[in-house]
């Protein structure tokens, strides 16, 4: 026990009393009984019991191991190679992301209104359920909707297109067997939907996620669409917003790493004016940019939709084109494919009003 008392996760008032009584190291406290501690430190009976309980839990092997266990990078490499990724059905984007949306990390999708963020999220919620024999993950999905833009009919269309795609690919008996179980109803029933109306409900939902995940261990994807909406309107204290968002981000990355799931967040765009020029940048401030592990920015360029990978620990930056069809999120068709564009994402102002959805048959 080498923990110092100021570094223990206790209430500040209790810690001050313990330090004034002379307890500096956690090992000073382990041999104490509650009544003794109560008298010496001047804290209440319940607080004393809580302190000793916390110390006893801390000494448990599995708790301590979390903080002190280390993996070598080699073990980590084997673990990463065993994890799959969630395909987006747009092969160019999958190549950019290194196979798809990676597990164990948080991915942020930013974009102007109407560019396709919710479409991509719904597509991922369907794609995570593709059976393992087809190269998917065979898991369930949790969709936290804060904007009210989730449409079941659209997910049903995407699910049907995915089932058709798998039917065309099925070759051996195992795949055919898996295909029999894969129906639109099953895909929809494996998608858990939560509707949050303001930021308090969102924070509460994230607090409850560890229990939810232990009850449903097959969940492999959590989508929060969008995380910007409840925090942008009606929030007076901006520094409190930054603190809440940072705390939220840390909780999400902890969940992602511990349960090996992918967390996808959607963000909106805002305008920043500098030197007389205006630029579209992701919303929620500068420090939120550090919160997500990967950042994907979707934008318009004329009539084309482009996706740029802006921040990633393992992939190079790249820009690819995609389109939204009846079947969902797909590759751009050949006539519209652009030359490779690796310029840094800077002031590319496109038309950011919502576009009428023309029926694109690819």
């Amino acid at each position: 026990m080498h923990r110092t008392v100021p570094s223990l996760p206790l209430a500040p008032s209790v810690k001050v009393k313990l330090i004034n009584a002379g307890f500096q190291v956690a090992s000073d406290l382990t041999d104490m009984r509650p009544l003794q501690l109560c008298k010496e430190a001047g804290i209440s009976q319940e607080e004393a019991v809580e302190v000793l309980q916390m110390l006893r839990d801390d000494g448990q092997p599995h708790q301590q191991r979390a903080a002190t266990e280390s993996l070598t990078a080699l073990d980590l490499l084997h673990q990463e190679q065993a994890l799959g990724s969630i395909v987006t059905f747009c092969s160019a984007l999958d190549d950019t992301l290194g196979g798809g949306v990676s597990m164990g990390k948080t991915t942020e999708i930013c974009g102007a209104p109407g560019v396709g963020k919710t479409q991509l999220c719904m597509q991922l919620a369907v794609d995570v359920q593709i059976p393992v024999c087809f190269g998917g993950l065979g898991g369930k999905a949790l969709y936290i909707d804060t904007e009210g833009s989730f449409l079941v009919q659209r997910v049903a269309d995407m699910a049907e297109a995915a089932v058709q795609h798998c039917t065309l690919l099925a070759e051996d008996t195992e795949q055919k067997q898996a295909l029999e179980e894969l129906t639109v109803e099953k895909i929809l029933s494996n998608l858990f939907l939560v509707r949050c109306h303001d930021y308090v409900e969102l924070l509460a939902e994230v607090y409850l996620l560890p229990d939810f995940l232990s009850k449903h261990p097959e969940v492999r994807l959590i989508v929060i669409d969008s995380i910007a909406f409840p925090f942008r309107h009606d929030f007076e204290d901006l520094s409190q917003r930054t603190r809440l968002l940072n705390g939220l981000a840390q909780q999400l990355i902890q969940l992602a790493t511990q349960h090996s799931i992918a967390v996808v967040l959607t963000n909106q765009m805002t305008t920043r004016v500098s030197n007389g020029q205006s630029k579209l940048v992701p919303a929620l401030g500068e420090s939120w940019g550090h919160a997500a592990t990967q950042r994907l920015i979707l934008r318009w360029e004329g009539l084309r939709r482009l996706a740029s990978l802006y921040k990633s620990p393992s992939q190079m930056e790249a820009t690819v084109q995609y389109q939204i069809t009846v079947q969902g999120f797909r590759d751009a068709s050949d006539e519209h494919r652009p030359t490779p564009d690796t310029s840094a994402v800077s002031s590319q102002l496109g038309n950011h009003s919502k576009r009428p959805r023309t029926e694109d048959l690819s």
Partner: protein, 410 residues
């Protein structure tokens, strides 16, 4: 006896609670005197900045000041509770009598006057003085002369090259052990990539162990393997280098403190593997766990920030390793970038680098590094480097550009 101590004398944080200086680098010359009654006092001879920093000059006995590595008991602080048996002459009644006078710790006992104490409670003056002397010798830290400190510094400090000539130029030939270096930058500016490149360089070229504390989930072993594959095609060497990088994943400040304290007490010896001793500790990023605690009505944030800073500094100093941390940036009122975590954290690292993207560059992997705080170089030096070609020097001549184009992507 007089011991003269030179400048740049680091004080441990937590053991010096209220009245003493908690910040370091005060640059003042201190003079320690020991008098016959075994009191160690210090007066400051040159105090231009110490007055601003609030250094208190007094005649109170100083216990456990100086470098903690010198403390004989190895304890971090000396607010040790008085219990029977810590020294001969202390028994139950002794402790009870002292507690009735509200004296619970060694520090309280030693700071009070034995004559007054003998009058107030029923203990004999002789016994009090004897116990006091024993406690002082047991718990006082030894002063060290400046010349010895300098010799030790010369022999124990090592400089680890980062592998990139431009960064080495900025850092005055590399990362120094015993110090904290900080990287800041906007999202996507390459802080994690620089950490990876440095880790790979240390584990592969210098064959030393690297400890990597990841708080953001951005550790990607595939990327480390990619970097190693550009350095050597030999699979075994790659695996060996990967085994020398140890990763800890912690996501909140209490786990981070638990991890650092565990490392300081016994973890570092355990972590050295295959003959390569631990030479570097990286924390990516320290702002992810601390920024949600600062500000608002929370009163514990600063204390936790200072505890993390104290742990990092003690690990760097005691084990002679270099500590590299990353920090985020925020925008101030005019829209300029500044490093996160505020003024208090800005005193903690010795050297700070700001990484930025290069606008309108032909390759998107170019970055500039600006030296924003350094004790060895002129500040605001800028160097450009390429994240993809780590060991090459960045040349802006035409021959350099052609070389970059010929190289295939890693």
């Amino acid at each position: 006896m007089r011991y003269i101590l030179k400048t740049r004398f680091y004080f441990a944080f937590a053991s010096i609670a209220s009245c003493w200086l908690t910040e370091t680098d005060c640059g003042c010359l201190l003079c320690l005197e020991t008098s016959r009654t075994n009191r160690v006092t210090f007066t400051s001879l040159r105090t231009p900045r110490s007055r601003e920093a609030g250094l208190s000059i007094s005649r109170k006995p100083v216990i456990g000041l100086c470098n903690t590595t010198r403390a004989p008991s190895g304890e971090k602080g000396v607010m040790v509770i008085l219990r029977e048996g810590i020294c001969p002459g202390i028994n139950e009644e002794f402790i009870k009598a002292l507690q009735s006078e509200d004296i619970k710790t060694v520090e309280d006992f030693v700071s009070c006057n034995p004559e007054e104490l003998a009058q107030k409670c029923s203990l004999s003056y002789k016994a009090l003085v004897a116990v006091r002397r024993v406690l002082l010798t047991q718990y006082t830290a030894f002063p060290v002369s400046g010349a010895d400190l300098y010799e030790e510094l010369l022999s124990s400090t090592a400089i680890l090259s980062t592998g990139n000539p431009s960064l080495d130029k900025l850092l005055d030939s590399g990362l120094y052990t015993g110090e904290i270096t900080e990287l800041t930058g906007s999202p996507g500016s390459g802080k994690t990539q620089v950490c990876f490149s440095v880790a790979v360089n240390i584990s592969h070229e210098l064959k030393k162990t690297v400890l990597y504390i990841d708080t953001k989930g951005s550790m990607c072993a595939n990327r480390l393997l990619q970097m190693l594959q550009t350095k050597t095609p030999n699979m075994e060497e790659q695996m060996e280098a990967l085994q020398k990088i140890k990763v800890f994943r912690v996501f909140d400040v209490f786990s981070l403190l638990a991890c650092l304290q565990h490392l300081r007490s016994n973890g570092l010896q355990k972590a050295s593997v295959g003959g390569g001793s631990v030479k570097a500790l990286m924390v990516d990023s320290v702002s992810a766990v601390l920024s949600s605690l600062l500000g608002g009505k929370q009163n514990e944030g600063m204390s936790l920030l200072m505890q993390v800073a104290g742990e990092l500094k003690m690990i760097a100093k005691d084990f002679n390793i270099t500590v590299l941390v990353t920090n985020h940036v925020t925008r101030d009122g005019n829209g300029h970038l500044k490093a996160g975590l505020g003024q208090s954290w800005s005193h903690v690292p010795r050297t700070r680098l700001l990484l930025q993207r290069v606008e309108d560059a032909e390759t998107s992997s170019l970055r500039t590094a600006t030296l924003t705080k350094s004790s060895r170089q002129v500040c605001h030096l800028v160097e450009e480097f390429d994240l993809c070609h780590w060991s090459e020097e960045r040349r802006t001549s035409i021959s350099g550009k052609r070389k970059l184009e010929e190289r295939s992507k890693p």
